[in-house]
């Protein structure tokens, strides 16, 4: 009887149809003008990087950009509209300056995206490399566990972690990291499988290299480009996802702010001051899109170079 190809390929949330192809490192030598053309193809990534850099630089220079502290309550300046002197983005119900609060959210929101994406990729890659290279029963066990966890609703995990360990930035990051592990492990495993029987791996195995050196020195560099691209997409997705956790009160806890907390606070003033909810929303979307654009551009270039 025919088996059902329920989930034979790793599912990339942004591109569920086209599984990512393994990268090849043996790129032909190119002359200098061709190099410059190569660099030009990356322009969307540069624009996206610039957008992210603007937020980071604005945060670093926050003291000279605004005179208000993000937590300073000024009842007399409550609910100022966008474009008010001193508060270009307006103020919230307690008179706190939205511009300085958005800036105060930069490190939290970026870390909230980057740390889980990096941790999820490192652990996921380790699991995937081991499963793919080891094969046999080890692989079967790992794959079936990952298959089960792959589509399990992540929010339940986040709720459980917050219920037991308490709602905090750190615990939310643990839950989010766990949620992307299976996807990354599967992806790296399928990459490893396609590399495992290539000549250079077989050659080093015949030369007597052990499993660990082969994984670290030969397999890892070859799955790295894909891993970085996926991690970049993940940063974008994680920023949105973790903002959601903060929005329902399971992420960053006041008085700290990330952009999700700002949207939740702003939602209360949706009738009188919609800027309070929508400006942080636009910021979240802009930064996530920037990371996804980087991933998408690099993915396309990687694919076309094969």
């Amino acid at each position: 009887m025919s088996s059902i190809p329920a989930s034979a390929e790793p599912i990339d949330p942004l591109d569920p149809i086209n599984p990512i192809e393994p990268a090849r490192t043996e790129v032909a030598r190119r002359d200098r003008s061709e190099r410059r053309g190569q660099l030009m193809r990356h322009w969307p990534s540069f624009v996206a990087l610039a957008v992210i850099a603007v937020f980071v630089i604005a945060w670093l220079a926050r003291d000279s950009l605004t005179e208000y502290s993000p937590s300073a309550v000024r009842p007399l300046r409550a609910l100022l509209p966008v474009g008010s002197p001193g508060s270009p983005l307006g103020t919230d119900g307690l008179g706190r300056d939205l511009f300085s609060r958005v800036l105060a959210g930069v490190p939290f929101s970026l870390l909230f995206g980057a740390v889980p994406a990096a941790a999820g990729m490192i652990i996921g890659a380790a699991i995937g490399l081991v499963a793919g290279y080891a094969g046999g029963r080890t692989e079967r066990v790992i794959v079936s566990i990952m298959d089960v966890l792959l589509t399990f609703p992540f929010i339940l995990l986040a709720i459980l972690v917050s219920a037991v360990l308490g709602a905090s930035l750190q615990n939310a990051m643990i839950a989010v990291t766990l949620s992307i592990l299976p996807k990354n492990a599967r992806l790296i495993r399928s990459q490893t499988l396609s590399l495992k029987h290539r000549e250079f791996i077989v050659a080093s195995r015949l030369a007597g290299a052990g499993a660990l050196p082969i994984i670290v020195r030969h397999l890892l560099p070859n799955v790295l480009p894909t891993a970085l691209i996926v991690a970049s997409t993940d940063v974008g997705l994680m920023i949105t996802l973790t903002a959601g956790l903060s929005f329902i009160g399971l992420g960053v806890q006041p008085p700290d702010v990330d952009w999700g907390v700002l949207v939740a606070e702003g939602a209360r003033y949706i009738t009188s001051a919609p800027n309070l909810a929508f400006i942080p929303s636009i910021v979240i979307a802009t930064v996530s899109i920037a990371f996804v654009v980087i991933a998408d551009t690099e993915r396309r270039i990687l694919r076309s170079s094969q």
Partner: protein, 322 residues
């Protein structure tokens, strides 16, 4: 075929068992006496009830036996009492389940309809419309769902004033049960909730359409002069359903995760808002029950979707004789 379904059902059961073991263990790890957790601080002073519960839940026995005693209660729908209100958790869950199911069902229907028609349009349109329709789903996946919910509230409730901003109206119960009011309250949350699954479905759909366009039967149909719309509906649509069913688990999972956010935006009295406030109140029994109920719903719907695959794909239903 039957064997496939049976093995899927078996692994679903394993997932649920695993989830229940994790939930049981984790809630036992929470500091505090399990007696208080089972009875609530209100009833802990009643010595007779304490003794009875201790026996009922096998609290003097080793942990694995305690687990089976607890599982027995859960299977009968007894999740203990809320630590916050002292109310039976099953009553709370029962009250919250209806609104959540209503929202989930209407959002998935809406998501399928919007997603498939979006994807078909993106597959067959050309020019600017095609570019917009193909890039928008990607955008929808990174724009926060709760922001989209708030935007809908702002446009349709605050600015236009034509739909209620939040809350739930029961079509069956209450002082003035009214179906029209229930539908009006349902529109915005369903729309906000369906957009992420719809974007995923749209991407799958136009990718499948692109693939099918290369097939000979489509070229033949076109050569015979069959109108484009008819090709789309009669030939592409059935093929589009398969990849959607295959990624069903992912879609349901996305729906559940976003439902918690959307319920919060619209103050929807569902399981999602119940779990969120229970976390803030450290109401472990309610959290436990909520997670178990949602996990069960997820596993059962995924299983149903897998069964649909057999219905939708004749190649699987009647396997070739080998």
């Amino acid at each position: 075929m039957g064997r496939y379904l049976l093995s899927r059902a078996g692994s679903s059961l394993l997932v649920l068992l695993g989830a229940s073991i994790v939930l049981f263990t984790v809630i036992r790890m929470v500091p505090g006496d399990p007696m208080t957790i089972l009875l609530g601080s209100v009833n802990i002073v009643n010595p007779e009830l304490v003794a009875r519960t201790r026996a009922e839940y096998n609290l003097d026995a080793p942990l694995p036996l305690q687990y089976f005693a607890w599982l027995g209660h859960v299977l009968q729908g007894d999740f203990g009492r809320s630590l916050w209100t002292g109310e039976m958790v099953s009553d709370i869950v029962g009250r919250r389940l209806g609104p959540s199911l209503l929202l989930g069902l209407s959002a998935s229907m809406l998501g399928l309809v919007i997603g498939i028609s979006w994807g078909i349009a993106a597959g067959y349109l050309s020019g600017a419309g095609r570019a917009v329709l193909r890039n928008l789903p990607m955008l929808m996946l990174v724009i926060p769902t709760f922001s989209i919910g708030l935007l809908l509230v702002f446009v349709f409730a605050v600015s236009l004033g034509i739909l209620p901003a939040s809350g739930f109206a029961s079509p069956l119960e209450g002082t003035t049960p009214s179906v029209p009011s229930a539908i009006l309250h349902l529109i915005l949350p369903s729309l906000a909730l369906c957009l992420v699954p719809a974007s995923l479905v749209a991407r799958l759909t136009y990718a499948t359409v692109d693939e099918i366009e290369q097939e000979e039967f489509i070229r033949t149909a076109r050569a015979l002069g069959v109108p484009r719309l008819r090709i789309a509906i009669q030939h592409s649509l059935p093929n589009v359903l398969l990849p959607i069913i295959t990624t069903g688990g992912l879609l349901i999972s996305a729906l559940i995760t976003n439902a918690v956010l959307i319920e919060t935006v619209f103050s929807w009295p569902g399981i999602g808002t119940m779990m969120v406030s229970a976390v803030q109140q450290r109401d472990y029994t309610v959290v436990q029950a909520g997670i178990l109920v949602v996990a069960t719903a997820y596993v059962l719907t995924s299983l149903a979707v897998d069964a649909l695959y057999l219905v939708a794909d004749p190649r699987v239903r009647t396997p070739a004789q080998e």
